[in-house]
């Protein structure tokens, strides 16, 4: 069963399209890391899921129910921690707990106090006197105390120091392990997603660029570095073509060489047998290597395809294929020109 399903959800703020037909699925019991740069659309997605905003278009399903408007009853089954905690400054953690408990029939006061203790949040200090990190932990305690089956966290660790972030994440991991709560959290800390999430979605400029398991993401995205060509020495280079067929040297008229700026940054080149684009007298020969279908260029020399395709493709001699860290993959997805800030 899916805890969350979004289908072609679009949301605009005036002329700005915050979400542009986003679709994603979060299975129940999963921890889903929602990665994206600032302004990518993470908060808008979460606010739509929480019913604070409504989508202009598209379909939202929460805990198995298709919703146009998130009802109060459904909200009671969702724990939500917002990016900025706007607690009443004069309330203590204990008073906030008492206040919030009035809205949740499933509120577990003992659990709330237990979480406060385990997160080291003072019960009797006013929220205005708490540090940002402690306020974030208080927000988590308030969200968890009703024992919701779905937890939505909007960059909960933004602004926390590394120690506080680690404590927060450890606690979240522990709670997920104990209760099996579905957690959908947004972040731009890749390490955090790597630590907690089984699934990841990468959003960029309001569009979902990737969704899947973290391991699958790491296997499917690699750096591809094709060998450099020296156009003057092209006649002596052996080229591996699409079907792996060898071309003999001494056939330069049948091979052209090009510097593909997108693929190989000028000096690296791809080559492919190209009888149509024959050499022109007095000019360098032109050779191209065509990537097989199914390869998607992410950015620069970073490509994505099915994990098996990387091994099944016959690459030109000297081609280097390397694995990337999740952070490198995220950066490749995120560094595009259509970023809204």
């Amino acid at each position: 069963m899916l805890a969350i399903r979004l289908e072609n959800v679009t949301r605009k703020f005036g002329k700005v399209t915050a979400l542009d037909g986003i679709s994603l699925e979060v299975p129940q019991g999963e921890v889903y890391g929602f990665l994206g740069r600032n302004g990518a659309g993470k908060t808008t997605t979460l606010r739509i899921l929480m019913g604070i905003l409504r989508p202009d278009d598209g379909c939202v399903e929460l805990l198995g129910s298709r919703v146009r408007h998130v009802s109060v009853a459904l909200k009671r089954r969702i724990g939500y921690v917002s990016q900025e905690a706007h607690f009443y400054p004069w309330m203590t953690a204990e008073q906030l707990g008492r206040f919030v408990s009035g809205f949740y029939p499933t509120w577990d006061g003992a659990e709330f106090r237990r979480i406060l203790r385990s997160l080291d949040v003072p019960e009797n200090r006013r929220s205005s006197d708490l540090s940002d990190g402690t306020r974030a932990k208080l927000g988590l305690a308030l969200a968890l105390a009703p024992r919701p089956p779905l937890l939505l966290l909007d960059e909960p660790t933004a602004g926390l120091d590394p120690v506080a972030r680690r404590e927060f994440n450890d606690h979240l991991a522990l709670l997920h392990k104990e209760r099996g709560t579905t957690v959908f959290f947004s972040s731009h800390h890749v390490g955090e997603v790597e630590q907690l999430a089984g699934m990841v979605g990468i959003i960029q400029a309001g569009r979902l660029r990737f969704e899947g398991e973290v391991l699958e993401l790491r296997n499917s995205v690699r750096r591809l570095e094709l060998p450099s060509f020296d156009p003057s020495a092209i006649a002596s280079v052996g080229i591996a073509g699409t079907g792996g067929e060898e071309r003999e040297s001494g056939e330069p008229e049948q091979i052209s060489v090009t510097a593909d700026p997108d693929l190989a940054s000028g000096t690296a080149a791809s080559a492919r047998p190209n009888g149509d684009a024959g050499a022109t007298e007095g000019r360098p020969a032109h050779a191209e290597f065509a990537l097989p279908p199914g390869f998607e260029k992410i950015r620069g020399d970073v490509y994505r395809t099915e994990a098996a395709a990387w091994d099944q493709t016959a690459w030109p001699e000297g081609t280097r294929i390397s694995r990337l860290t999740l952070e490198e993959i995220f950066l490749a997805f995120a560094r595009t020109d259509d970023v809204r800030v």
């Binding site: 900025e84 009443y88 206040f99 009035g102 809205f103």
Partner: protein, 612 residues
């Protein structure tokens, strides 16, 4: 959920509400005490609703709405299983319930107090309740709506206040005659059987619209409008709002200045109308009417000639109010806040009343009116004072001779120099009106003699012929001395030298009959830092000669002292002023004595000094 919200509001604002209720109780007690002789204790209730109701409303809205949205804590509420509409509705109803509970308690207390003095019927109580609840709900809905405007709430209140001021003051439409406010006018305490249906039919729809507007702001764009309005103003917005606020204020001020006031008219006055100039003298007991008619004709002719000589575009209506209580040589001009014209008071027909001096005073005041008071500024006042006397004396040899005698006496008091003219108000304060005017007259005579008739007239036309603009353009005017030199070819020093050369044949003789009087003032310590002031006048030629002692303690920056500002003791012997002053007090003192030889009162020993 609702209970949780209400208990939160009570915990957050409870002490403020309690304090407000205590203030309300105190205010009601005071109002009841104040209204004990006003026909009905319900007058106090009407005032309570009209004054305390809005004050409590503002406090409630500030706590319930402004604080929530300003602190952005409504965003926290949005994350809870609550709808925005419920949050807003709970707040609205909670505040309204508190407001009505306070008012209901006040009504119950007032009814209990009133039951012993007036008849309190259920219908009357129902009417009072309906009126006060309708008014309060309207104001509460208005304040709630404005509270949701967030950073623009002060702008909205300011605009409303300015609008109310314009409505009430400029359009002369009293606000308490407008439906929601009329509901709680003091007549509510006495209207025992009829319901103000028309007022209610205006008020309820207005309230409903305001409530709808509040919900619209709070719910529009999933609460984004309310959250946006609650943000702080940017510096650019502040500038724009500031400019937008100043513009209507400036417009109102201009309106105030430019608004043409109706001309003053005195009914049943003795009128003289000559070629568009109207002069009226009010009728009074013991007024010699033929004398008054002649005087009115003379003044009218003076002003007709003045208009032609200076090329004035208009002459204001002039009205004279006879006032036998004034000294004969003291003339006063009235301030007219709501009408236009020149209105003066004088003791017409009293033994000391000098007709020519009074005509000169009228000319003086007409020119002051025409130049919007600019002719009375210190650096040019001598010209106005002297011209007014010259205008009358140029055809009256007897008056000219009196002025000559007075000018001679003035010259014995003060040695004329340029600074004396430039600081004319000080000189005049020292000499008094009679001698001051005469000395100024002599300077104007010098001007006409030195410049010649035509250049002198051109200069005077340039000075007064066009009504000056009532704005900053007056700053572009050339200084008087420059224009005097350019147009009349005369400088101030020329005038001073010419006046100094006047003594000759007869000048000494003119002043010989003037008493040589010496006024003295002395501060004597009574105890501690407290002083009393002793005065004396030496040189009196008879023991029973009356004189007036003038005095005034001076505040900082006090410039011109008119005779109306001064306190006065009429006496025939030396004595002590009826005041005690502290060490270091600044004070003005002078003595004024009637001089038969000059036919006017002269001032002696005038000075500003510090009591030590």
């Amino acid at each position: 959920m609702t209970r949780a919200l209400i208990s939160k509001e009570l915990r957050e604002h409870g002490w403020v509400f309690l304090l407000a209720l205590l203030v309300g109780a105190l205010m009601l007690a005071l109002l009841l005490f104040q209204a004990r002789n006003e026909g009905s204790p319900f007058v106090a209730f009407a005032r309570f609703v009209a004054v305390y109701g809005p004050l409590l409303t503002l406090a409630l809205i500030n706590r319930l709405v402004v604080r929530e949205y300003g602190g952005r804590t409504q965003l926290f509420l949005e994350t809870l299983p609550l709808t925005r509409a419920r949050v807003l509705a709970v707040k609205w109803l909670f505040g309204a319930a508190l407001l009505l509970a306070a008012t209901g308690t006040a009504l119950a207390v007032t009814a209990a107090v009133a039951s012993s003095t007036v008849r309190v019927t259920p219908l009357f109580l129902l009417l009072l309740t309906g009126r006060s609840v309708s008014f309060l709900i309207w104001f509460y809905a208005l304040a709630f709506f404005i509270g949701l405007l967030g950073r623009y709430r002060y702008v909205a209140w300011g605009a409303l206040l300015i609008g109310a001021f314009v409505f009430d003051f400029y359009l002369q439409l009293p606000l308490n005659h407008v439906p929601p406010l009329q509901l709680v006018s003091e007549t509510m305490a006495f209207q025992r059987s009829s319901a103000p249906v028309a007022n209610l039919l205006w008020t309820w729809p207005m309230s409903l619209m305001l409530v709808a507007g509040s919900f619209l702001i709070a719910l529009w764009g999933e609460g984004s409008l309310g959250a946006y309005l609650a943000q702080r103003m940017s510096p650019r917005e502040k500038v724009v709002i500031g400019v937008l606020a100043i513009l209507p204020l400036g417009f109102i001020l201009i309106l105030d200045r430019r608004r043409s006031k109706p001309e003053f008219h005195l009914a049943n006055a003795i009128l003289s109308e000559k070629r568009g100039v109207t002069v009226g003298i009010g009728r009074a007991a013991r007024l010699d009417e033929p004398y008054a008619e002649t005087l009115a004709d003379l003044i009218a002719l003076d002003l007709v000639e003045l208009r032609e000589y200076l090329g004035l575009e208009t002459i204001p209506p002039v009205f004279v109010l006879p006032d036998a209580s004034l000294d004969g040589d003291l003339h006063q001009r009235a301030t007219l806040p709501a009408s236009d014209g020149v209105v003066v008071r004088s003791a017409i027909g009293s033994p000391e009343f000098e007709r020519e001096a009074f005509r000169a005073f009228v000319v003086h005041e007409v020119l002051d009116w025409y130049t919007r008071g600019r002719a009375s500024r210190e650096n040019r006042r001598w010209l106005l004072d002297g011209f007014a006397e010259w205008w009358i004396s140029r055809k009256d040899a007897a008056f000219e001779e009196r002025l000559n005698r007075r000018a001679a006496a003035a010259s014995r008091e003060l040695r004329l120099d340029e600074s004396l003219l430039r600081e004319w108000l000080s000189s005049r304060e020292s000499l008094g009106d009679c001698l001051g005017n005469a000395l100024a007259w002599r300077v104007v005579v010098a001007l006409t003699e030195l410049a010649g008739a035509d250049p002198g007239q051109r200069f005077l036309r340039d000075e007064w012929g066009r009504r000056p603009p009532d704005d900053a353009r007056v700053l572009l005017e050339q200084p008087l001395e420059q224009r005097l030199q350019t147009i009349a070819g005369v400088s101030i020093s020329d005038l001073v030298r010419h006046v100094a050369g006047v003594p000759g044949d007869g000048e000494e003789a003119r002043a010989t009959n003037v008493q040589a009087l010496l006024a003295s003032f002395e501060a004597q310590r009574t105890h501690g830092r407290v002083f009393e002031i002793h005065y004396g006048l030496a040189g009196r030629n008879r023991e029973q000669q009356e004189f007036a002692v003038l005095y005034k303690t001076l505040e900082p920056w006090k410039a011109e002292l008119s005779r109306d500002d001064l306190r006065r003791v009429d006496t025939m012997e030396d004595g002590v002023l009826p005041l005690t002053v502290e060490d270091g007090t600044r004070i003005f003192t002078a003595v004024e004595v009637w001089q038969d030889s000059l036919s006017c009162t002269v001032r002696k020993g005038a000075r500003r000094w510090v009591v030590r």
